[in-house]
Amino acid sequence: MSEAPRTEALPHAFFSWNRLWAIATNTLTELVRLRVFYFLLIFALLLIVGSLFWSKVTFQQQLQTLKDISLGAMTIFSTLLAMLATSMMLPKDMEDRTLYTILAKPVPRFEYLMGKLTGILLLLGLAILAMSLVFGVTLGVRYFQVAQQLQGELGGATSELMQPSVEALRAEVFDPDLLIAIGLLYLKAAIFAAITLFLSTISSSWIFTVMMAAIVYLIGHFQGEAREYLMLTSDGSWLTQGFLGVVVILFPDLQLFNLVDDIVVGAGLPLSLAWKTIALGVFYFFIYTAASYLAFSSKEY
């Protein structure tokens, strides 16, 4: 059978980037070939249809609405993508028995899990990049349209008179905080992917995982307010504080990552707040990834 020279057996590496990358790119290929990027068409359509209804508001409102709708849609799409793509990964590999064939190769479980998660992060990165490009192009086109309209309306005005209006428009469009908003949006999707991954390691079906992830998403968005309310109304006993501590650990306060509203209205985002949010996001991401590994490493298939 074997005429080609036998591949020399290499000593087993405890960790291999090549193996991890092979699993990550395979996961990305799978999701891309499942045509998950079709949602981008819906996203583009949303922006185009939405823009038809903006003619009756002021120029500044038009741009703000465009940013609001775009960033809102990006948040929803990236969260949905993170939840659905991650929830089906492990159950599908089990159902098709590909999990057995992979783990029967010299692949440590954490490499498999990290490879899968990296694939999802790549997918989210590409999806958010694509949406950002659509958003950027739409915003740019809208800026030039608005600038031309402004020029038409202030046709007789001198350039000195027009300058402040044009400057205000430009600041509205070329706002560096928009990049931070997109970065935070990615971080939030990554945290949600890590949460969904953890849930999929402890559940037996993807439907259960999706349902649990949706519940965590809701609690994550309301727990901040609920916590404040409890702190104000309760006696501050150790029981209450302990309960709140557990809730904070189990359910990340996803509302903390919603800094988009401030950025849309042009209220500058303090750099310290951005860094704190990023640090918290990274912390949550690693906590849930570590929990996923702990659950997966002892799971029997």
Partner: protein
Amino acid sequence: MAESEISSQAEPGWAIEIEKLNKTFAIPFRRERLHAVRDLTLQVGKGQVYGLLGPNGSGKSTAMKVILGLLKPDTGRTAIFGQDSSKVESREQVGFLPENPYFYRFLTGLETLNFYGKLCSIKGKALTDRCWELLKLVDLEGAAHRRLGGYSKGMLQRIGLAQALIQHPRLLVLDEPTAGVDPAGARDIKDLIMRLKEEGITILLCSHLLAQVQEICDRIGILHRGELVREGRLEDLIGIENQTELILEGASPEVLKELRAFLEARGVRALRESKPQTTLENYFLEVTGEEGQS
């Protein structure tokens, strides 16, 4: 037991060693546990083809999964070529084909082998060459660029066998390799297993197709309700000690008559006299023309 202890106990000739293996599973909402494998001890020698037989739920798949590190034993030890099989590195030497695999349907045959090759740290030209070599071996060169979603059951089994062989394993674990495959496909897979056996690859085969096991295996073990009830060389287990089979060609009725008389005179009783039959498999393949193609 530590890995070193297992290594010290391992005999140089064993490809697989299972020692007092016990595995139970929890039953939801009940106190007792399901005993899937009970005190299983067996060894598979290097280069042997070992058939693990048993009815559904007898513990075959559980034992196999423990060997592959997919399940943890409650008690007992398993080793592959002297290495504790719960260690990831022991799988460098193992290829596995599960029952009814689907693999990644969105990948082509070539991409599938590339993927599994990368998992075994094979790279570059060595990987490309190996993929094509295996595609040729399993007769899927023509379907190399087709997605697995469009493969037939037999083709999936063959690509599965190819992925199991990607890193030149010394041990192949095959779970029902011909399940659901048509007779021609089953024959191809069986022939492939025979070729691998000739190359000295150790094969652990789980199958319900007893005729196939009888044709391929050197040694068998029969599991029933998690216990190994019979184990040994096939010819020792199924051979009838005081009987001899004699197949004649071109014997006329007169010769047969003389032969019967000769035997009777010496106190030998002829138990059965019939014309040998071809197997239904051979007949089917002949009729459908597959025999000529293979």
